[in-house]
């Protein structure tokens, strides 16, 4: 509890606090040092706050993200300059015109029209300039430049809570459907059509381009490109992608990866796209377990049949406890980096955890909720059966 309140009875203005008894010259020097210190501290904080780690937007690997970053960098300096100017004037006014003991009533100024007009016109010009510049940038990044390499097209469909990637033509007319791990050739524009099969999601690869929502019954189009001269590391490099719109329980765990590779590597991946071989007894056993337990929802022998996908979706949307639901195509699982929509690295250990009890890895997923295998909690399979399944899926010899 503090000392008694500091006010005086009567209609006179309140006295300021005891600090204002100090000689004013000394005080303003002190204040200036404080201001300077604050400035340095702010810049230090700023320098340490920005990072290029993970999915930071401070690093651009392609022309779209680069344009967006360039815009933001200019904006940043406009903001920083305006911040120091306006806050500086505010601070100056507050310190310079603080009430001194015995000060008479200040002059009763009501305004200054010339000043108002000037201070209206300057910011209007500034924001209009920024606005017009943004409009040009908006159209510039809307479509890939016509004179570049032939773009490759990918259809992306969002599901609760994973991404499906369909290449209508991944080279030589080959159609590929994969999930959660988008492989793209470097230095080539990638045009994307975004769809959603359930709720609204948002597709975001910060280092390649800003986000665009994935809306059921709407087709949204975007493009990006990874430039080899912007990437310092040796290819292939793997970039983070994520869903950026709240889409339900596992929204935080709906991520993906973009692997940027040389065109030749991409071509050999595309050519090898196909079901894992069943040339050993163990792999045959794995394939049987897969066929018996997984194929209501998952496909492993090439692109999904569109009619089957549609029926799974209908089953999902009409509810029920155990129904076929849309699920990732597993044809090329063995070539992917991650599992469960980009939340853990893919290896034997993580795949085992996932197969034993998916709910532990990714709370809210539909596999543990709807698959017959998990109706009593963890998987209704022996360790040996799980081994065989892992061996088959990952093509272990």
């Amino acid at each position: 509890m503090g000392p008694p309140p500091l006010w005086r009875k009567g209609s006179l203005p309140m006295q300021s606090t005891s600090n204002s008894n100090r000689p004013s010259g000394r005080r303003s020097i002190l204040k200036n040092r404080t201001v300077l210190f604050g400035l340095i501290a702010a810049l230090f904080l700023f320098a340490t706050g920005c990072s290029k780690e993970g999915q930071s937007t401070w690093e651009a690997f392609g022309p779209v993200a680069q344009k967006q970053l360039d815009l933001f960098n200019v904006l940043l300096w406009v903001m920083v300059a305006t911040f120091f100017l306006v806050e500086g004037v505010l601070l100056y006014a507050v310190i310079r015109y603080r009430k001194r003991p015995g000060q008479p009533r200040p002059p009763q100024i009501h305004g200054n029209t010339t000043l108002e007009v000037v201070l209206t016109i300057i910011p209007t010009i500034l924001v209009l300039a920024l606005g017009i510049w943004s409009v040009f940038a908006l159209f510039e990044i809307d479509k890939p430049p016509g004179d570049g390499p032939e773009p490759m097209h990918v259809n992306v469909t969002a599901h609760q809570w994973w991404f499906e990637f369909e290449y209508p033509d991944a080279g030589n007319g080959k159609k590929i459907i994969t999930a959660n791990d988008l492989k793209i050739p470097v230095d080539r524009p990638i045009t994307l059509s975004l769809f959603s099969d359930d709720v609204i999601h948002s597709f975001w690869v910060p280092k390649l381009a800003g986000k665009l929502d994935m809306v059921p019954t709407h087709e949204n189009k975007m493009w990006f490109q990874a430039d080899s001269d912007k990437i310092d590391d040796d290819l292939p490099v793997t970039l983070f992608g994520t869903c950026a719109e709240l889409c339900g329980l596992a929204h935080a765990l709906m991520r993906f990866r973009v692997t940027v590779m040389e065109q030749t590597d991409f071509d050999s991946w595309a050519a090898a796209y196909g079901p894992p071989p069943t040339n050993t007894d163990k792999a045959k056993q794995g394939a049987q377990i897969f066929a018996a337990n997984c194929t209501l929802c998952h496909t492993i022998d090439g692109p999904d049949d569109p009619a089957l996908s549609a029926s799974r979706l209908t089953g999902f949307l009409t509810g029920g406890d155990i129904t076929p639901v849309p699920a990732p195509n597993l044809t090329d699982l063995r070539t992917r980096n991650t599992l469960a929509a980009g939340i853990v690295d893919l290896n034997e250990t993580t795949l085992r955890q996932w197969l034993q009890n998916p709910e532990d890895v990714k709370p809210g997923n539909y596999m543990s909720e709807r698959a017959v295998l998990y109706q009593n909690g963890s998987a209704d399979l022996t360790d040996e059966e799980i081994d065989a399944l892992i061996g088959y899926l990952l093509d272990l010899r």
Binding site: G2, P13, V94, I109, G131, V135, V215, H251
Partner: protein, 612 residues
């Protein structure tokens, strides 16, 4: 029906619980609104605490995704509809009649009805916790996540139906203030002599009256979709989820001005008082407020830049959003101009007002950066936006409200809040606020999306999150200091009627004001009438040191208390409650509402036996 109303005699007591339940006095209703808002502030603060604890470390599993989604949904919904809006209405109620020289609002019983509907609506939404079916789709509740089969429990029904109840309260309250301000100003108070807070209240009320019908349409459609088999927002059935976004943001963007304009009004009262100078550029502040109120309707799609409306639509909303920065900038220049060559006193209300200006500049600048839509594609739905919105709503609305509380508390109670605790409160809140929300700019730019309950360490977001969670503790302490400060005033010294040498008419009467406010309705000759009065008295050599003398309250005709507002509000709440439990209850609620309205209509504004 008339017979029924004849049976119930009018409430007569002016003290005790019944007097609060039946009051139509705008000052008492202000206290009810304010106290209720503070209770919900504590609830929303606890929800924020849970969020900050969960995010304090990477891969944390304190709470799961389901609970986390409920926490941020309720935190935002409560802060917007049950804290900031009622706090503003509390100020409208207390200040407006006093500031325009009136004895009450235009419709005192409607005013009471607004409060009771608000209270019951807010309680209705919190019933969701009792059945553990809590809204969890965000305060924006984007369709079709809110539709079956994606949202199967009744959480979203609690959300939409309670908001419909709350909305009816807001519209009734706003209409009341529009009518009050237009019709009940003291003689001589032309529109351009109204205090800025009155102006901002008028603009806010007009926005409320126009914006709430839009969200009401959306909420009714959502409720119909969820309960009665319509398909407004269900894509599989031919509906369109984007329609919801347009309806929501056509309401939602004016709503953010509904949240900030009252705070701007408060600051425009506090800054001149403690600079000893009239407001600089009064007409520019007013017109910029009007321009914001109009342009606020033309920028809603900047919340939807990433929806895929295409570059043409995004260009239009980029330009309009850019331009709305200008009137806001004008206000800031004029606030600084008010202090220029003034005599600035660092009292608690002034510190909060200065904090408002300093923090609003930050929020305004980051706001301009989102207006640049191509760059916003990287920032939309990241913590950069969370930082921005808290700088304008916490740094703006909450700091403005605290400036108002510290400023008008002595008028409301006749007792002063401690200046020492007030300053401690300010500095803790200012430091805590920056510590919590400034790092979020970095988090957003470093790629952290909003509304994720967990993040893995590989993204490098942990340090900044720890800083933000630390800031929460400082903020928590600042609110503790505030409550201690309020508590200690129960035995604080009584204060004069005009402790701040303020310009407004409300300071010319006793503290706390008598029930009738003004014994003699004042004559207004210009802006800042009480400064004019005091200057005249000083010139005449007889300084004004006493408030207007008290008179016998029975000599002034005031509206009598009434049972009907709370009775009718119970009916309205039961209509909503029935939709959430058993439809039969809705019919009972409807009958009670009808009875209340008829009884109300038959009740004379003042009981014949009442001399008050």
């Amino acid at each position: 029906m008339a017979a029924i109303t004849g049976v119930i005699s009018r409430p007569t007591s002016y003290a005790g619980v019944w007097s609060w339940l039946t009051t139509v006095d705008h000052k008492r209703i202000a206290v009810l609104y304010g106290a209720t808002a503070i209770v919900f502030l504590i609830i929303a603060g606890v929800e924020a605490g849970v969020i900050r604890m969960q995010l304090a470390s990477a891969d944390n599993d304190l709470i799961g995704p389901g609970r986390f989604n409920q926490m941020f949904t309720m935190h935002a919904t409560v802060m917007i509809f049950m804290v900031i809006m009622p706090l503003s209405v509390s100020f409208f109620n207390f200040v407006i009649p006093l500031a325009i020289g009136a004895r009450d609002v235009a419709f005192p019983r409607l005013n009471a009805l607004s409060y009771w509907i608000f209270l019951f609506g807010a309680i209705l939404m919190h019933m969701a916790f009792l059945v553990d079916q809590v809204p969890d789709a965000g305060w924006f509740s984007y369709a079709n996540l809110t539709e079956k089969p994606f949202s199967v429990n009744r959480g979203l029904d609690y959300w939409s139906i309670s908001l419909l109840v709350l909305g009816s309260s807001s519209v009734a309250g706003a209409l009341n203030f529009v009518v009050t301000i237009i019709n009940m100003r003291a003689p001589g108070m032309s529109m351009m002599r109204m205090p800025v807070f009155v102006w901002m209240t008028l603009i806010t009320s007009l926005l409320l009256v126009l914006a709430f019908p839009v969200i009401t349409v959306g909420l009714i459609e959502l409720t119909m979709d969820r309960n009665f088999g319509t398909h407004f927002f269900i894509p599989a059935e031919g509906g369109d989820p984007i329609l919801w976004q347009h309806l929501f943001w056509v309401f939602g963007h004016p709503e953010v001005y509904i949240l900030i304009l009252p705070a701007m009004g408060i600051v425009s009262e506090v800054l001149p008082t403690f600079s000893g100078k009239p407001l600089f550029g009064y007409p520019f502040i007013i017109f910029s407020g009007i321009v914001i109120g109009i342009m606020g309707w033309a920028v809603w799609s900047h919340h939807m830049f990433t929806v895929g409306l295409g570059p043409v639509a995004n260009s239009v909303f980029t330009i309009t959003t850019m331009l709305i920065g200008v009137p806001t900038g004008i206000k800031i220049f004029n606030w600084i101009g008010t202090m220029w060559k003034g005599a600035v006193e660092f009292t608690s209300p002034m510190l909060f007002a200065l904090g408002f200006v300093a923090l609003f500049i930050v929020g305004g600048l980051s706001g301009v950066s989102h207006a640049v839509s191509p760059s916003d594609f990287q920032q939309q739905d990241t913590y950069y936006i969370v930082a921005h919105l808290h700088y304008v709503l916490f740094g703006g609305s909450i700091f403005g409200a605290f400036a108002g509380i510290y400023y008008w508390y002595p008028k409301l109670t006749g007792r002063m809040l401690s200046e020492t605790l007030g300053k401690l409160n300010f500095w803790l809140m200012f430091i805590g606020m920056n510590l919590t929300f400034f790092p979020m700019h970095f988090l957003g730019l470093n790629g952290m999306p909003r509304r994720i309950y967990t993040y893995s360490a590989e993204f490098g977001w942990e340090n900044m999150n720890q800083l933000a969670s630390l800031g929460y503790i400082v903020l928590f302490l600042s609110f503790v200091v505030f409550f201690v400060n309020i508590w200690q005033t129960r035995n604080a010294r009584r204060v004069s009627h005009d402790p701040w040498d303020a310009p407004g008419l409300e300071w010319s009467i006793a503290s706390p004001p008598p029930a009738y406010n003004f014994a003699v309705i004042p004559q207004v000759e210009g802006l800042d009438q009480y400064w004019i009065d005091k200057q005249k008295a000083r010139d005449a050599g007889t300084p004004l040191t006493e408030p207007e003398a008290l008179v016998d309250p029975d000599s002034i005709h005031m509206p009598s208390p009434s049972y009907w507002p709370i009775f009718t509000a119970v009916g309205v709440a039961l209509i909503g409650g029935g939709l959430l439990s058993h439809y039969a209850i809705s019919f009972v609620g409807g009958a009670i509402t009808m009875m209340g309205v008829i009884g109300w209509g038959n009740e004379p504004a003042t009981a014949p036996s009442d001399h008050h």
